[in-house]
């Protein structure tokens, strides 16, 4: 395992994968008849050179931090949580119920309540597949995929048949009361005296909760006994069992934490941005979490950086779709390539590097 220095494994390998993905995407842009250089500068201009661009980017980043962390926690226990999408949908339902039916005096209380609601609903939705994996041996990938579809059904039922106000044609719940509305970056900048910053961008205080979640996951995985048990089970099931780790318990806990994190994405989208429960608010963020976790090597810091990258790509992609003939779906292609090269084809990137370092060591001694 220790053929390569650690920094190569952590930094160089993901970067090479990213460059291959970027190169192939550039070829695709050329094939469409646009210039990759113009596209990149347009993306940077629309994202990093305007405060509103930052506001959109960090909004997407917040979602991807939550889902990326969720997939990472499951990865550490050698579980593949592909059901982030469904868990986030249920989280949205939790947020909506908490915000609509509890009279909150102030947003600071509301965000705590909504976080609990979102986490609880996401946790339940991940808990059932976890139970089926732990006790009945049903493959968690398949069950979580099925639970994505079931969550979509439950969400449609609640939005269309239960929460939709009478007489409304829109498939959406009623608006949340104003005391639950979260301050956006625009509001915060206004308080600090920057009047025109982050204008009408959706980023809001839940970004800071996402940062806290990064810290919490770091502490959980690398500094707590529970995290040790999770990692032990993920590295080697028989060894962990021999050391007294109870697999059923760890599988349940790891998946429920994962589901809770996915669910908490909804405080950003549902409480922070739409301020009512709508359909399709997840926009595939549950799946992007897979790419983020792979790219970030399941480490909270890596997840944060990868989430920023994908936030940039999403906002940049929207700019491209606005100003060029490159459709937004180009970002989906980039995302696919990142997953492919950091995940499935990683040996293709690693094998040449490993043999390079082996020959280096031989030359030394």
């Amino acid at each position: 395992m220790d053929v390569m220095p650690k920094w190569v494994d952590i930094i160089v390998v993901p970067l090479i994968s990213l460059f291959i993905a970027a190169f192939l995407s550039a070829l695709l842009i050329v094939a469409i008849g646009e210039s990759p250089r113009d596209a990149l500068s347009l993306m940077i201009e629309g994202t990093l050179l305007r405060s509103a661009g930052w506001g959109y980017m960090l909004y997407y980043t917040t979602n991807f931090i939550f889902t990326g962390l969720a997939v990472s926690v499951a990865f550490h226990a050698a579980l593949f949580n592909i059901g982030g999408e469904g868990q986030a949908m249920m989280g949205g339902l939790g947020v909506a119920l908490v915000c609509l039916f509890i009279p909150w005096p102030h947003w600071t209380f509301a965000i705590i309540g909504a976080s609990f609601g979102a986490a609880l609903f996401g946790m339940i939705w991940a808990g059932l597949p976890a139970y089926l994996q732990a006790k009945r041996g049903s493959h968690i990938v398949i069950t979580t995929i099925m639970f994505n579809f079931l969550a979509a059904g439950v969400l449609i039922f609640f939005v269309v048949d239960v929460l939709k106000p009478k007489g409304s044609m829109d498939p959406a719940s009623a608006n949340f009361p104003p005391t639950t509305h979260l301050p956006t970056f625009e509001d915060l900048a206004g308080i600090l005296g920057f009047e025109k910053a982050f204008r009408s961008a959706p980023a809001n205080v839940s970004f800071f909760i996402a940062l806290l979640a990064c810290l919490a996951v770091w502490y959980l995985i690398w500094r707590s006994p529970l995290g040790y048990e999770i990692r032990a089970l993920g590295k080697s099931g028989p060894a962990a069992r021999y050391a007294g780790v109870r697999p059923v318990k760890i599988i349940m806990i790891a998946m429920m934490i994962s589901g809770a994190l996915c669910g908490m994405m909804a405080i950003n989208t549902t409480q922070g941005e739409s301020e009512r429960l709508i359909l399709n608010f997840t926009e595939g963020a549950g799946f992007i979490g897979i790419a983020v976790a792979l790219m970030g090597r399941s480490h909270p810091l890596g997840v944060l950086l990868a989430a920023l990258l994908f936030g940039f790509l999403y906002q940049g992609g929207a700019e491209l779709a606005l100003w060029t003939k490159i459709p937004r779906e180009l970002i989906v292609v980039i995302q696919a390539l990142v997953i492919l090269f950091t995940g499935a084809l990683s040996l293709m990137v690693r094998a040449p590097l490993e043999s390079f370092f082996v020959s280096l060591q031989k030359a030394k001694g």
Partner: protein, 380 residues
């Protein structure tokens, strides 16, 4: 009472909706029986649908479209093979990547070629698979006056596109290949115990690639079917989760060809039902009775199990019980024979619920091929 003709029409559309599921399900069957999990069925289906519609639209020939669609699907299969067989990568991750690759590339290329927001233009008559009317079948105008046998013949047996009949033929064919040929025996063995196959001097890599490519061909046909026969153009994300439903059907069928036919027809029937009827009404006593039965059997099951079973399944039973009570209280003032409207989404969700139940092993446990999902590393 539902009319006979209406029933026939629902069955007819069940068959049409089951066809892509069946082809994709058999694709998954070959791949998974050889020990390669294939989450990427959805992506292959979508890619094949786009490529076949695009070629059929540009060349005007549906056969060129079909061939191109199959080719595109095989290319993605080979990518999956490269990642999961040759490079021994994670099969699930590779499948996920293929799904995204197809979802993104189809729209990007469609937008570039046709500029219609990720769609292809409607296909003209040469670019579509037309329904084949068997000799002696009546036209749709006269079908109301025909006898029941004639209605059955004209509505259900005749009048489908060629690919529907091909899909039905692949079932016995797959069964024959899997269970009656030497190749099939080796294929099943490589999914259960690749080391034994390797010891016998047969190439594990070769067998697995062949299975993945077979799957690619079947997904290709399915993709061509949804874009050139079920609909007459490609639209963004038109596979609509069929690849995953086929995966569900595969588990439901426990990786067996004939059962796959049954599972796909059943799932197709659910979709046909909800296409045809906007509101499904059932008597309240039947629904609440069924829910109570499920809840009570769950509770009796967990009675002597451990703490976790009690919390999870007991909680589930309580949830179901409360729905049953809600149903009873909501109709209690309108008499015992009142009917309850079943929300459409619940009918749509039935395939997934059934799959989870089967996976959980409460009703006939589904056990996947033993070596599935693990890359084979030759001993040195």
């Amino acid at each position: 009472m539902i009319e006979f003709l209406t029933l026939l029409q629902v069955l007819d559309s069940s068959l049409r909706l089951a066809t892509p599921l069946l082809l994709v399900c058999l694709a998954g069957l070959f791949s998974e029986r050889a020990g390669i999990f294939d989450i990427g069925l959805e992506g292959k289906l979508l890619a094949a649908a786009f490529v076949s519609a695009a070629f059929a639209s540009l060349t005007g020939s549906v056969w060129l479209g079909l061939s191109a669609g199959i080719l595109a699907s095989i290319m993605l299969s080979l990518l999956h093979g490269l990642a999961s067989i040759t490079l021994r990568g994670d099969q699930i991750i590779s499948g996920v990547a293929i799904n995204f690759l197809a979802a993104g590339l189809t729209v990007v290329v469609a937008q570039d070629l046709f500029g219609q927001g990720g769609r292809t233009p409607p296909l003209k008559s040469g670019g579509r698979f037309e329904p084949i009317n068997f000799p002696g079948s009546t036209s749709s105008k006269e079908i109301n006056d025909a006898g029941p046998l004639m209605q059955l013949y004209s509505e259900l047996v005749s009048g489908h596109s060629l690919l529907v009949y091909i899909a039905l033929l692949t079932v016995p064919l797959s069964w024959f290949v899997l269970y009656k040929t030497r190749y099939g025996l080796r294929l099943r063995a490589v999914g259960e115990n690749p080391a034994a196959v390797d010891t016998a001097g047969i190439s594990v890599v070769g067998l697995r690639y062949s299975a993945v490519i077979l799957g690619g061909i079947l997904c290709g046909i399915a993709g061509a079917y949804i874009a050139t026969s079920l609909q007459a153009n490609f639209t963004k994300d038109m596979s609509a989760g069929r690849g995953f439903i086929a995966l569900a059907a595969l588990i439901f069928a426990k990786w067996r060809p004939w059962h796959a036919l049954g599972a796909c027809l059943l799932f197709g029937f659910f979709f046909a039902l909800d296409n045809r009827f906007q509101n499904i009404l059932l008597p309240a006593w039947a629904i609440s009775g069924l829910l109570l039965l499920i809840a009570l059997s769950l509770i009796s099951y967990v009675w002597k199990k451990d703490y976790l079973d009690k919390v999870v399944l007991g909680g589930l039973a309580l949830g179901i019980l409360s729905i049953a009570i809600m149903v009873i209280t909501s109709v209690s003032d309108s008499g015992a024979n009142s009917q309850v409207k079943i929300p459409v989404v619940f009918v749509q969700s039935l395939p997934y619920v059934l799959t989870v139940v089967v996976l959980a092993g409460f009703v006939g446990k589904a056990i996947p091929p033993r070596a599935g999902g693990q890359p084979y590393v030759k001993e040195r």
